[in-house]
Amino acid sequence: MLFFVVETVIKTIVVFGVFLLFCAYLTLAERKILGHIQVRIGPNRVGPWGLLQPIADGLKALFKEEVVPERSDKVLFIIAPMISVSMALCLMAVIPFGDHITLFGKKINLVIANSEIGLLYLFAFASLADYGVVIGGWSSYNKYGLLGGLRAAAQMISYEIALGLSCVGVIMISGSLNLVDIVKAQAGGHWNVIYQPIAFIFYIICALAEINRTPFDMPEAESELACGYNIEYSSMKFSLFFIGEYAHLMIVAAVATTLFLGGWHGPYLPSVVWFLIKTFLIVFFFMWQRGTFPRLRYDRIMMLGWKVLLPLTLANIFVTGLVMVLAR
C-alpha cells in the first residue's frame, strides 16, 4: 500500500516535470524548424543555438504586467487558462511511456494509471480542455475573442466525433480500452498502422483540428480574428494557454504512437527511448506540415469534418468489422 503510494507520487512528479520541460522546448523546436523551412536561422541569441530561449520567454512572461479587461468576467477570465493547461496535463496520466522496469526487487510499470478505460479517459479530458478556449474567448468581452471561442467550440465538437471514430478500429482489433493492453497487443511488429492505415491518416487529420494547428487553426486565425480567443490575454495567462496547446500537441502525438505505432515496442534500445523517438517523429511531422500547408476556410473545415471524415471513419469501422468476421 505504502509502496504503491510512493511509487505513484514519484512517477507523477517525474512525468510532470519531464513533460513540462518537453513542452517548453517544443516552442524552441517549432521556431527552429519553421525557421529552417523558411530559410531563416531562428532564435540563436540566448545561449548556444538559442537553447536558453524558452527560459528567457518564461521569465519575460512572469514579469510582464497582467492586464484584465474592465468589462470582462474576472473570475472566468482567470480560470480559463488554468482549465486549458490542467486538463491537458491530466491526459498524460494514462499513457504508457515504457515497459516495466525492476527497482529494489519490485516490478514498476512505466505508466501512472493503468486504467481499464484509458482511451475513453483521454477523450473525456480532451473534451474538457475545450472549455478553457471557449470560456477564455467569452469572458474577455471582446468580439474577436467571442468569435474565436465559438469557432473553437464548433470545430472541436465536429472533429472530436471523427477522432473518436477513427480509434474504434484499433479498439476492435485490440479488444480493449486499456492503453497498456493495446500496446501489448502490438508486440512483435504487429503495429496497428499496418492493419489500420486509413484510420491512422484520419486520426492525424482530426488530431490537427483538435489541437487547432494549421491547416485548421481557425480559432486563432491572425488575419481575420486578430488571434481569436486569447486576444485579451497577456503575460503568464497567455503563456498558460500556449503551454496547454503544446502539452496537447505532445499528448496527441503520444496517443498516435500508443494506438498505431506500437507504443514502446522496438529492438535494441530501451522502451522509453523508442516511445520518445516515435512521439517526437510525429511532433516533427506536425511542425513540418505547419510550414507547408495554408489555412483552410472555415466552412471548408466544417464540411471536411462532417461530410468527408465522419462517413469515411464510419465506413472504416464497418470494413474492419466485416474483415474481422470473415477472417475468423
Binding site: 500500500m1 473525456a124 475545450d130 465538437i157
Partner: protein
Amino acid sequence: MVVGILFKWCVFLAMSMGVIFGGLMVISRRNPIHCALFMVMSFFCTAVLYLIMNQPFIAVLQVLVYSGAIMMLIIFVIMLLRLEEEKIAKLKFSYTKLTGTILGIIFFFQLLMGVIAPLIGKTGKITAEVIAKEGSTVIIAKELFTRYLLIFELSSVLLLVAIIGAVVLSKGK
C-alpha cells in the same frame, strides 16, 4: 486499509457537496453562462462519485457525454443567442417548474429505493464482486448487446428520428 476508507469518505463528501453546490448555483445564478458552467461542475463531481463506486466506464461516459459534449453544445447555443440577464429573470416557467418538481420527487423516491433495496436483501445478479472480477466495461457491453439488444436498437432508431426531425425543421424555412 483504514486510510483507504477514510480517503474514499473524504472524496465522497467533497464531491457530493460539489454536486449539491453546483446544482444550487445552476438554478440561482442570473447569468446563463455561469449556470451552464456550474452544471458542468455538477456533472463532473457526479462522475467522481461513480468512480469511487468502482464504475470507471460510467464515470468516463458521464464526463465525455454530459460535461464534454452536451454542455458544450448548450454553452454554444447560449453564446449564439446572447441572452440578456434581465430577460431570463423575468420569465416565469410555471409549467416547467411543476413538471420539474414532480419528476424530482419521483427521482428522489427512486434513489431512496436504490439505497433501501440492498438493506432488505434485494440484490441483482451483478454484484460488486462480479464487477471486480470481470471489469465493468465487459459486463456493460455483454448486457447491452445481449439482454437489452432490442431496447438498444430501439433507442438508436429514436435518436435517428430525432436527427431527421432536426434536419427537416431547420430546412423547412
